[in-house]
Symmetry: C2
DNA sequence: GAGTGGTCTAGACCACTGG
DNA sequence: CAGTGGTCTAGACCACTCC
């Protein structure tokens, strides 16, 4: 069976993939510029962009604004059933989480937020918008809608705080528990793209969830837009047993 | 604040998005051809493709080979903790699931499969590859690795069967339970793209999981490549449960 | 065969970054 | 400022489906 000749974009994609997986490009390292690649491989810059776009879709590389292409760091592992604090989970995974506050204000519940939190329309809601980072790289933007009555003065406390979960616990005496989580692929809008230093239309993940207190009363309704290469969902259903499968970056056997 | 003028691609994207969300294009319906759109909106076909690509990233539309662009049907809702059979879940959601057998053969366990199933290297494994459909539209390709000793003759029984879970239950007396599920975005390879009637490099979701029997013995290790617009994950976390922190292993210990 | 998407080259301008 | 990605137009050929 004669080896199918790869088209230019597929060829470049394959070469770069090999370079990255073999570690010939440092993790977090920068790729050569599109123009350089287009010279090196004798193809138009548009074709190079296509190849890079596919590597981006694979989650191997990511773009940063007009700044360049970089090798993606390991994914953040998220267990919807168990994890309650991004900060804590990240630290446990040996990462360096950060938070940038974009907005913290009291308003009234939007329709969806009210319905989800099981609150009457027009209930005072504290809305907190933040960019979350790992090793200073923005990985998702988060918008939390919190019942103001449960957390008076939350908007004021939010600035300078890294972990809202810790704030709920230590300041308001609320132990958060997840109620449900939903996740689906979604394209980044202009706003999200800007905050993530990505490009509009770039692939992302939308994660929504409801968190409750110990008595199962709804506390917070969150929407998170993730860079799609920064996240991996792991759900453990039951009692554990040793397994070491599914390492990061086992992109093999694609073809 | 003067409204930012939308660039051509963003403009077309916005218009189409409105048309689709408002139902002016039938669900499952075909979009006008790229060439027609490029005439109608006075932009180059490449630009049209870019706009369509973004709608695809949003999950609003999908492509079918060289056949055209279509409005995406509703997503299949998948709860990793609860669902054990695609067929059953789909029916419960009012969908029409189907299955196309690509391969059913006995081999020996690959390295990852063996490790995941906690079996010695070289153990006989039945490998089953199938395309799963909803309303006749292919939505994911699945590769199951099953311990042959647990299901003798499975390869022969697999043809003509829609639900493997039902086969395990009725023929082999095995009640499947999920052990863990992992999910992450991934690009479709050439093979997967072909089976899904999509294009290589198109965005997808890779779902891997381990299923066990009632005694928590590993039975099946599966890899599924989904069209990324066909799936939504929902995880319901169970209501009140006293603190089990002691026995619950952390996700981080995976590595 | 007509029509569709898939891909490629060529060349250009713009917006933003700080390599 | 130079360099980078973001975007656009123009025109062309190919592979596949069956509109």
């Amino acid at each position: 069976m004669g080896e199918t000749e790869l088209l230019p974009a597929a060829r470049l994609r394959a070469v770069m993939e090999g370079d990255i997986l073999a570690g010939r490009v440092a993790l977090g390292g920068r790729l050569p510029s599109e123009r350089v690649l287009s010279d090196q491989y004798g193809m138009h810059r548009i074709t190079v962009q296509k190849a890079l776009g596919q590597l981006e879709a694979e989650g191997l590389i990511y773009r940063q604004d007009r700044s360049g292409w970089f090798v993606s760091p390991p994914r953040f592992l998220y267990d919807p059933a168990a994890d309650v604090s991004f900060t804590d989970s990240a630290v446990r995974q040996g990462r360096k989480p950060g938070s940038i506050l974009l907005l913290a204000e009291e308003t009234v519940a939007s329709e969806t937020a009210a319905a989800t939190l099981v609150l009457p329309h027009g209930t005072p809601i504290t809305c907190i918008r933040r960019v979350r980072t790992l090793e200073a790289r923005p990985v998702f933007v988060e918008e939390s809608h919190v019942n103001s009555a449960r957390c008076p003065g939350l908007a004021q406390h939010a600035s300078g705080v890294v972990s809202l979960a810790a704030l709920y616990r230590d300041h308001f005496g609320i132990a958060l528990r997840r109620r449900w989580v939903r996740m689906r692929p979604a394209a980044l809008g202009r706003t999200e793209a800007t905050h993530l230093r990505s490009a509009p239309g770039a692939p992302g993940l939308l994660l929504t969830r409801l968190s409750c207190d110990a008595h199962d009363r709804p506390v917070s309704y969150d929407r998170e837009y993730w860079r799609h290469d920064a996240l991996e969902i792991t759900v453990r259903v039951d009692a554990p047993a040793p397994n070491k499968a599914g390492r990061h970056r086992d992109v093999t056997e694609l073809d």
